[in-house]
Symmetry: C2
Subunit: 218 residues, 2 copies
């Protein structure tokens, strides 16, 4: 069987490897990134993973902007700083203190950023007529594919969402109709943590399967 045989049956050992990749994927922040550049061959694999994501009505409504320019990234980092300052005030006293000690992005520490946009299609999209968010969800599926492929290449990704989307669009000259879905920091790391950092720091507890999986109805 070749890699082009999409009807191929996978072995349980292959499913196990997927399970290991899924479990080893982490959100990486600036305290773990190395400045080592990402080889183009590896970046190609990450984008190839994005482009085979599912998309509603095969609309492929995604766009990716790779950003290395440090002056551009400094402007993005400034948007993070402003938004993060506002965010810290939304949490109660003790939680707000803990919040302010967290490192939540790696915009400047990682060698590469990727801004991911939703490009809405003109006219109706098959499968999106009753649920208008489906196009945005397709873009998210592409991001998750990238994240997993990166991890399998031992490359870390951090998804930064504490940004003013319109400011990001402005900085990288995105057309008015585009919507920022994700802003990714990409780079090799000194280590991947065993658990999500917010779990280790007891910011929020892990939910049990039986709390979130229901049978037949609520």
């Amino acid at each position: 069987m070749t890699t082009n045989d999409q009807n191929r049956q996978f072995e349980s050992s292959e499913s196990d490897i997927l399970n290991q990749i899924l479990n080893a994927r982490r959100d990486v922040r600036g305290n773990r990134f190395l400045s080592t550049p990402i080889p183009q061959t590896e970046l190609d694999k990450i984008f190839s993973a994005a482009l085979c994501a599912p998309s509603v009505g095969f609309s492929q409504p995604w766009e990716f902007v790779t950003i290395e320019d440090i002056t551009v990234r400094q402007k993005i980092a400034e948007s993070f700083r402003l938004e993060n300052e506002k965010a810290a005030k939304l949490f109660q006293a003790e939680k707000s203190n803990q919040y302010q000690q967290l490192k939540l992005e790696g915009i400047l520490q990682s060698p590469l950023n990727i801004a991911v946009f939703y490009n809405p299609q003109k006219g109706p999209v098959l499968g999106q007529t009753s649920m208008p968010d489906m196009g945005r969800y397709s873009v998210v599926c592409a991001v998750q594919n990238m994240w997993l492929m990166a991890r399998s290449l031992n490359i870390g990704i951090g998804w930064v969402s504490i940004l003013e989307p319109e400011r990001v669009k402005d900085i990288i000259k995105a057309p008015a109709n585009r919507e920022l879905v994700a802003y990714l920091c990409v780079g090799y790391v000194d280590k991947f943590y065993d658990k999500p950092e917010l779990e280790t720091l007891e910011w929020q507890a892990r939910k049990k399967a039986e709390q979130v999986i229901l049978k037949e109805s609520y």
Copy 2:
């Protein structure tokens, strides 16, 4: 190295297997599903994949309702029929004819459906303060993990989005604040197609990488 070692380095052969799974994943509709039940061990693996998805602020805002009851699924299928009838009218003459010939769901043909909800958290969520859709996007990441794990177990998933979300909530008695993100049909298949069906049928053309990957800015 064990599966519990999250810092583990993956080999290129392991990354290749992920690439094969990503490429072999398909959206499966009713004409390909077999009625063979899904063993609980396999379903557990699919949910385990969901629960290690990334979530904004470790909020884990997902809920999954497994649906086997045929009378419930008949009600869901009726919502699909109504929404699909409306949808067909939105496309132009020739496209509308083609639309009406497509098989777009496998609600009754698959042995298992899973409704996936976003359960918004009370109070602020870390990482969601500037981009309110982040919780919904976390749920989508969980769905993509499920889809990939299912494919690695040679199980197909079809994502049905031609449904009235409030009607689905009503049918399975979801609390008012929950939001339907995805409705999945799950089952073994007689075959996985080589390409997305909508690509083969020339509903929409595949975009080239250079159309959607930009350097530094628009």
